[in-house]
């Protein structure tokens, strides 16, 4: 029994030697063992190495598959992250709702509809504006800021411009002025948008128009500068008119309107979005009285 056990152990050792290319130990004069060992050599000769082409092809295929597996795993990670965020119904609903609200507000803002909400400054067709038929609205009470109005015949274009670009102008003037007194008009340019805007030219062209006959009686020439306004920023420009027309003559009592003309454009996006700024009209009244011969044009003093 121990002899057979010894043979088994010895056989394993001899086979290990054969496998490692070594010679076996000298014959033990045991024909059965020796025959078995010789047979083991024949068994060893049965084994075949894989073809090199097969080995390299399979290797390449597997490594390619592994790369794809890695890629799929990384994509799965991304999807998992996405699904973690959007997989929860409550969170998903909250995010979608937020997005919808933001989109709706953005659209309303872009359409200019927000400026029509109560409490917002009117940007178009406000009370006191000159209507399309040229009728003069009642002048605002003394001390109250006059409201900008669209110029007759240009209301549509002006409204369209206001709806697309955020720069607006409001005029403030004493509603009644004594005959021959200087009329001071404050023009406030406001950028209600979210991006910087440019007003050009600056000072803008400001003209005085006789509302009764829609005749231009005087104009302050435009400057050659530009005015940059950041988001929600505003700037004031004052003019002082001595009630004289182009010929230096005192204008007649009546209702006069102030027109403002300039172009607005986006600071960051060039002038592609250029459009006229509100051609606003603020109206005031010149009361009857003695003619002041010394009145002069000082309208450009503030420029």
């Amino acid at each position: 029994m121990s002899g057979r056990s010894s043979d088994e152990r010895l056989f394993s050792e001899d086979v290990e030697r054969l496998l490692s290319g070594e010679e076996t130990l000298p014959s033990r004069a045991d024909s059965d063992y020796d025959e078995t060992l010789r047979f083991a050599r024949r068994l060893l000769a049965l084994r075949e190495e894989p073809r090199p082409e097969f080995a390299s092809t399979l290797r390449q295929r597997l490594l390619t598959g592994m790369a794809e597996q890695d890629l799929a795993a990384s994509q799965q990670d991304t999807r998992s992250w996405f699904s973690r965020i959007f997989g929860q119904p409550g969170l998903r609903m909250a995010m979608v709702s937020t997005f919808v609200v933001i989109a709706a507000v953005g659209l309303l803002w872009r359409a200019g509809l927000l400026s029509m909400l109560p409490g917002q400054p009117a940007a178009s067709a406000p009370a006191g504006a000159v209507s399309d038929n040229g009728m003069m609205p009642p002048a605002p009470a003394a001390g109250e800021p006059a409201t900008l109005m669209a110029t007759q015949g240009e209301a549509d274009a002006s409204a369209a411009a206001r709806s697309t670009l955020p720069l607006s102008v409001q005029g403030y003037v004493a509603p009644t002025n004594s005959y021959g007194d200087r009329v001071v008009v404050s023009l406030v340019f406001s950028n209600s948008g979210t991006e910087g805007m440019m007003l050009s030219p600056f000072p803008p062209e400001v003209s005085i128009r006789d509302v009764a006959n829609d005749q231009l009686v005087y104009a302050f020439a435009a400057g050659s500068s530009q005015l940059a306004l950041s988001s929600m920023e505003s700037a004031t420009y004052d003019i002082s008119w001595d009630q004289k027309d182009f010929d230096g003559a005192q204008v007649l009592p009546g209702t006069y309107a102030v027109d403002v003309w300039a172009m607005q454009s986006r600071l960051e996006k060039g002038f592609a979005g250029e459009s006229p700024v509100t051609q606003g009209v603020v109206a005031f009244e010149v009361l009857p009285g003695a003619v002041d011969e010394q009145a002069t044009d000082t309208g450009n003093k503030n420029r």
Binding site: F11, F39, L43, L46, R47, P50, R51, L58, L62, M66
Partner: protein, 201 residues
């Protein structure tokens, strides 16, 4: 004959890759580790499978199956529990078993399942005799119990040592030694009977 042994974690291992070498592969990327495992173990896996099925083409297909399975489960493979060669041989055994089961074949090489060598158009009588002898050897091997077939295939095909075979087959190392010797003797006797018949003819 080239002696490219499949080595594992055993101290008797004379192969090119030891357990330490495999662990160093882990330090690299996952892909490099797999490539290293492939380069080290693929020849042994192929030889083992070819030893079992006796058909080079089929052995290539099954070897590819083994490594594709290994690739799919590579992340779950725990090197602390098993050497790569042991793990791959376990997959290979299961793959062979699945193959024979799928093909509804008994695990005996039948006469009509001519090994690939027959188709290689041998030129000499000696070559014909050698091929016939090889074929008969495989038939005799197929007649052994499956465990003995595995032991002989892992030993002479894959070139594994007794400790590695014991781990792959989940038997004791001494049992491997005992069964190896007895299985080879039994195979020798079976083959001798065939040789005697041939000589008698």
């Amino acid at each position: 004959m080239a002696e490219a042994m499949v080595a594992g974690d055993g101290p008797q291992s004379g192969g090119p890759v030891s357990g330490e070498g495999t662990r160093s592969g882990l330090a690299g990327s996952r892909r490099e580790a797999f490539a290293e495992m492939y380069d080290t173990c693929m020849p042994g896996v192929y030889r083992y499978i070819n030893y079992r099925v006796g058909n080079a083409s089929l052995a290539e297909d099954l070897t590819a199956d083994v490594f594709e399975k290994a690739l799919r489960h590579f992340d779950s493979f725990d090197r602390a529990k098993a050497a790569p060669s042991t793990w791959l041989m376990t997959i290979a055994r299961n793959t062979i078993t699945d193959h024979f089961r799928k093909e509804s074949r008994v695990q005996v090489i039948r006469e009509e399942d001519a090994p690939e060598e027959v188709s290689e158009e041998p030129e000499t009588v000696d070559e014909i005799a050698k091929l016939e002898e090889t074929h008969q050897l495989r038939l005799c091997l197929a007649g052994l119990p499956q465990l003995d077939q595995d032991i002989i295939s892992l030993k002479f095909g894959a070139g594994m040592n007794n400790r590695e075979i014991a781990r792959a087959l989940k038997v004791s190392e001494s049992n491997v030694g005992t069964r190896l010797y007895r299985a080879v003797r039994r195979l020798r006797e079976s083959f001798k009977g065939w040789e005697d018949n041939v000589r008698a003819k």
